[in-house]
Symmetry: C2
Subunit: 468 residues, 2 copies
């Protein structure tokens, strides 16, 4: 890694080059300058050092720097001035652009949220699309209802009532483009109704609901979880107007909320008028015990149930659903219309056909043993190679957590594994204010058994090296 000398005018660019050949040098220079502009380190209108100077400071050819400058000029970040120098563009909006997400994926990635899309049932899906395009009346392709297609709402209500123990009526189902949009619609309706505080589990996946809630002026309150899920007394003290729960398989720690705790949460909601948002994100995959029914089935009036096809079929479908209390149904549908005028018609009708013909059940029956074998391979490898890691939340879903022994820190294991091109992810980034054991989240659904074993082998070497 080359860092430009801190005494040179090039230093303020904060360019650090990795020379492992993974990311071309000019792209790294581009990214560093772009970040500098976005972060405000390089102010609008300021002149950049000559390409020569940067090339010399970094020990790269001048052509590499020229290429980076040209790209940034094309993107509008930089302006070429007569006289041969380059300055940061004056555009008033340049500062709005957020940093791009890191896109490079490690060779072996235990990242969460990757259904195995190589098993997407292409032929069955095509059959459903063909049925729709052959049979659906034309008006189905016109402007849509915010609730979604009646065919799909009926098919999903039947499916969810049968498989998830919900108490869903088609008129209270709202179709959306996946969980992220669904939770955003609910939060918008809550905010419009005067809600001020949104509870979330701590730790929890924060990237869906939290920015939306904060953007609407809601205070987001973390409520601690223990090994069984959310701590009900803490919830009761929290004063929140709504809470997002993952009662069937807490994300990420894997706890299952007990029957007593469920009833206590529902009583709290009924007493205070709060809404429980039940994120049933991976309930279709249970391995070692009978499924736990959805909380929504107990008291449909105080629970908004949310599910999607992202974990079961493919994220790329962008199909999700809400089952909401009757008095919220029109408001949520109106929020959906305001957001995007409804989800795509053909996809909705195709999914309805897919569910009704039993293809969805069939696909789940095919995937369950596959994911189970991968989970077993992960547990076996951990127990063989890293016996003092403590797996939790193993009974369901597409991930588990392994709590670390006290001599290891999350951050050091994550970084050392990344250096060996293995992606593992800590629990800490998902904590709001709770403290707790260091742990790693292992997604296993899209990795072969062999790759899982290989990844844990590398991880064991990494851990051994850290301990030396």
């Amino acid at each position: 890694m080359t860092v430009a000398s801190t005494n040179s005018p090039v230093a303020e660019l904060l360019i650090e080059l990795r020379r492992d050949g993974v990311v071309p040098l000019h792209r790294q220079i581009e990214a560093a300058i772009r970040d500098g502009i976005r972060a405000g380190r390089l102010s609008r209108g300021s002149a950049l050092p000559p390409t020569r100077a940067i090339a010399a400071a970094l020990g790269v050819s001048r052509g590499v720097v020229v290429e980076a400058y040209q790209q940034l000029v094309a993107e509008g970040y930089l302006t070429s001035r007569t006289g041969g120098y380059t300055q940061v563009a004056m555009g008033a909006l340049a500062a709005a652009a957020p940093a791009p997400a890191v896109v490079r994926k490690p060779r072996i990635d235990f990242g969460y949220g990757r259904a195995d899309v190589t098993h997407f049932p292409r032929a069955a899906w095509l059959r459903s699309i063909r049925t729709v395009l052959t049979d659906a009346p034309s008006e189905r392709f016109g402007y849509l209802s915010g609730h979604g297609m009646p065919e799909l709402r009926e098919a999903l209500a039947e499916y969810l009532n049968r498989v998830r123990g919900t108490s869903a009526r088609p008129e209270n189902v709202v179709i959306c483009n996946g969980y992220a949009q669904g939770s955003a619609l609910l939060i918008q309706v809550l905010a419009a109704a005067g809600a001020r505080r949104l509870g979330v589990e701590d730790p929890s996946a924060g990237d869906d609901a939290r920015p939306v809630a904060e953007g609407l002026g809601l205070e987001v309150v973390g409520v601690p979880v223990d090994a069984d899920g959310i701590e009900v007394p803490a919830l009761e003290r929290s004063g929140v107007d709504a809470v997002i729960l993952t009662p069937s398989h807490q994300w990420p720690t894997g706890g299952v909320l007990s029957a007593e705790a469920r009833v206590a949460v529902l009583r709290w909601a009924a007493r205070t008028g709060a809404l429980v948002i039940e994120d049933d994100y991976d309930a279709e995959f249970r391995y070692d015990r009978t499924p736990v029914g959805a909380m929504q089935g107990l008291v449909p009036d105080v629970v908004a149930y949310a599910g999607s096809a992202s974990k079961t079929l493919a994220p790329g479908l962008r199909i999700g659903w809400l089952v909401v209390p009757a008095h919220l149904s029109d408001a949520v549908a109106a929020a959906k219309v305001a957001a995007d005028r409804g989800s795509p018609a053909i996809d909705q009708l195709a999914f309805a056909d897919f569910v009704r013909r039993g293809e969805f059940d069939r696909h789940l029956r095919r995937m369950r043993p596959l994911y189970r074998r991968r989970r077993d391979a992960l547990l076996a490898a951990l127990s063989r190679r890293l016996p003092d890691f403590e797996p939790a939340g193993r009974a369901a879903g597409q991930h588990l957590v392994a709590w670390l022994p006290p001599d290891l820190s999350e951050a050091s294991v994550v970084a050392a594994a990344a250096a060996r091109d293995v992606g593992v992810y800590g629990v800490s980034p998902y904590r709001l204010s709770s403290r707790g054991r260091d742990g790693l989240i292992f997604g296993y659904a899209s990795l072969s058994e062999r790759t899982i074993a290989e990844g844990i082998d590398v991880l064991a070497e990494v851990v051994a090296a850290l301990r030396r």
Copy 2:
């Protein structure tokens, strides 16, 4: 029409019954009570009159009222109490539900925004879906980029540059679920960058951008249009940070912005740092003159171009696109990720295939003469039956405006036509503060030539009756 006596306790329910058999009586009673609860006329916890009393006051059977009560109990608006009376539910969120949109469609409806979906190219679309499901690599079904599928961004950039004269690069295209979402994404990015005032044409379609902008705290400023589109001096005086324009066919008045005015708008934008949002909603349909290229093609740095497949193929597809200035591309894509994690993968890939194989061009070539004949039928019927109506904006699109002679008011014509089950729509609801001639908006794209002639016949009778 029956209105309950204003002296009875039933009067506060404000139930007005239409007995034309179009809407069942119990549904009308339901709707009136629901509206009363939403509007706050019926307060939470208040007791409703006995079903008997309402039935007697309205002259309907008691069963009709019971049915309405039962439905509202099921929806959570009402609660049945022991003791046999019914009260408005206490649910804290009931007030959040907005009034449902009126769904009954007139027999002959000149409403705007209805592409003729009976001509949706089902076979060609199925072929594209089959190609995708056969050929696309599995990772295309995983989580998506906020920009959208590279295949579609390339196909659209090529198409728009060729057909609409844009200067689009694939990396600046963002795929969204139609125009409503696209404009919302742009407004979110503008608001985050500190924009305070959004200009819109006056009159204009307000239901897409206006609520979003106001929800984000932006002031929405109407800028008057004349027969040629937006009045540039008024725009220059407006002090807005961005303006939404329909330069190719002003909605609804149909003006086409002159070359001089375009250049003046772009100069204003470049000078002030404002963004022009170009809503190119119906540009594919031109009848009497050569197409006008998109403004975006002149100065891509200051224009965000927006289009969709809703007017060309079908609204139910929910496919739209933005071409944004390079420095906004990442920010708009990030807003799309935040909204719904990207548009559905298979649809995007199918549309890319559809465009690349020339099916989109073919479909447009088929639809243009069809819409042209309908427009001609509308103009002929107006000229024959209502010669003092003054059509405008006829050269393009799927609608035109007819300005009314001074002795007729929009409101009276719209109401009298509705009573004859013909839907025509005034210009006034689309005005912000501008005043101008009364006029009617006629959408003609989804009506047969015969239905158009019949509708204008009825309208002529309506007008004759109003003049008597």
